[in-house]
Point group: C2
Chain length 253, copies 2
């Protein structure tokens, strides 16, 4: 007789500074590994989470999604408290809910929102060093905003994808892309149906090229059309990137 | 013949997480020690800085002041760049300027501004854990604002001073005290002519008591009048505190 197994979805926030990203790695501790170990110890069965997306070394998250199956009778709403007592302080569960047994987070239509933060002033601020990319080169925010406008919509983002991507198609939809500025902090906020490998960081690097005057905003349209990674700007460093939220629209069949 | 000695004032920002505060300590590394060592190595003479104020273990700063004498011919405006190349990433010089040879930062009238940050939501956010105090207990910001109003002005702040203070007088002037809230982050911002030992953290702890309904805002007047540390709230944890800026008004004679 099989135990009554249920599927749980966790929302997970973390400071990526001390991890080799989300996904299990042979050399280096990852978020996925810590979640598996902590869940297994708490629930006293071997747990393997399924992540909805991966983040790289040093990238942060306010709301990553992980799904797992368990025979435990612990109510889902108790899990965040029980897990947060055992997790290291740089990982914190934000919520847990029971989902359908066949729910798979990578087979659902979803919207993901990322933020890329840039500290733009003469000298670095130590308290921002882990959560924003620093540059003393003055960035023109209106130029960055104009450049960003060319990326909104459904496009082939091949130029904004690292070469080692295994994606079957490089067409993605950017629903929204805003560049805002509060004092010395520039925030690029992007929402899309999915992002290619390094896509947000290459977009950030390209918008910074526009902001410092190396390319004209309208050249972003040419970069898109070229479908050539070499035409876009550099991949901006990981520390400035945060996965802000993950929204499921409806399950794909 | 004496070398041509000049006095330099540094503005220093740091992440206090990994330091035992500002002041030299027998056991544990401090900001003052790192500055002395780095300046001495750069300028090839023994340098001892004079700090304008001290911060405790784990407290952060955007603009602490340190003064030192040097025979070096390096122009003051070059110092931030030269020092920042040698300092650890959690300390960054924000500016350097030559001052009068008899300028002493603790014998000047000054205004200091501190911020105390509180993250008030159901679960902690890892990326805020080092720079904001977390509490899941809902805080009523208008009540905190009302309570704060009683502390503005010239008062005897003995109730808001840790017992082991060596201050000669406990009378201080609070020029401004604002409680603001942006989403889940509550920021207490206070400007005064000087602060007693732990004063900002005890004020933060007391305002949080008002915010959670344990005391009425008007009771803050009674706490002030009592001149008794036991009447005020607890000392809020160090990580939420940041020295924001230091302004010199005019030199006292």
């Amino acid at each position: 007789m099989e135990a009554d197994v249920k599927r749980i979805m966790l929302t997970v926030a973390y400071d990526g500074t001390n991890y080799r990203g989300w996904q299990l790695q042979p050399n280096g501790i990852t978020i996925e590994e810590v979640l598996n170990d902590t869940l297994s110890a708490l629930l006293k069965e071997e747990i393997k989470v399924i992540g909805a997306s991966r983040t790289d070394t040093g990238v942060h998250s306010l709301g990553s999604i992980a799904v797992f199956d368990t025979a435990s009778r612990m109510p889902a709403e108790r899990l965040p408290y029980a897990l947060n007592q055992r997790l290291p302080r740089d990982i914190r569960i934000q919520g847990a809910t029971e989902v359908a047994p066949d729910f798979h987070p990578r087979r659902c239509d979803s919207r993901k929102t990322y933020e890329y933060r840039i500290l733009n002033r003469e000298f670095p601020l130590p308290t921002q060093r882990l959560y924003a990319y620093f540059t003393y080169v003055p960035l023109d925010v209106p130029r960055m905003q104009a450049a960003a406008g060319y990326l909104v919509g459904r496009h082939d983002f091949k130029s904004f994808c690292s070469a080692d991507s295994s994606a079957q198609t490089t067409v993605r939809t950017v629903y929204d892309l805003q560049v805002s500025c509060r004092e010395e902090l520039i925030v690029i906020r992007i929402t899309g149906d999915g992002f290619l490998y390094n896509m947000v960081r290459i977009i950030a690097g390209t918008l910074m090229e526009a902001g410092r005057g190396r390319i004209r905003p309208e050249e972003v349209a040419d970069i898109l059309n070229a479908c050539d990674r070499a035409k876009a700007g550099p991949t901006a460093p990981a520390c400035g990137l945060t996965l802000v939220k993950y929204e499921f629209i409806r399950e794909t069949t």
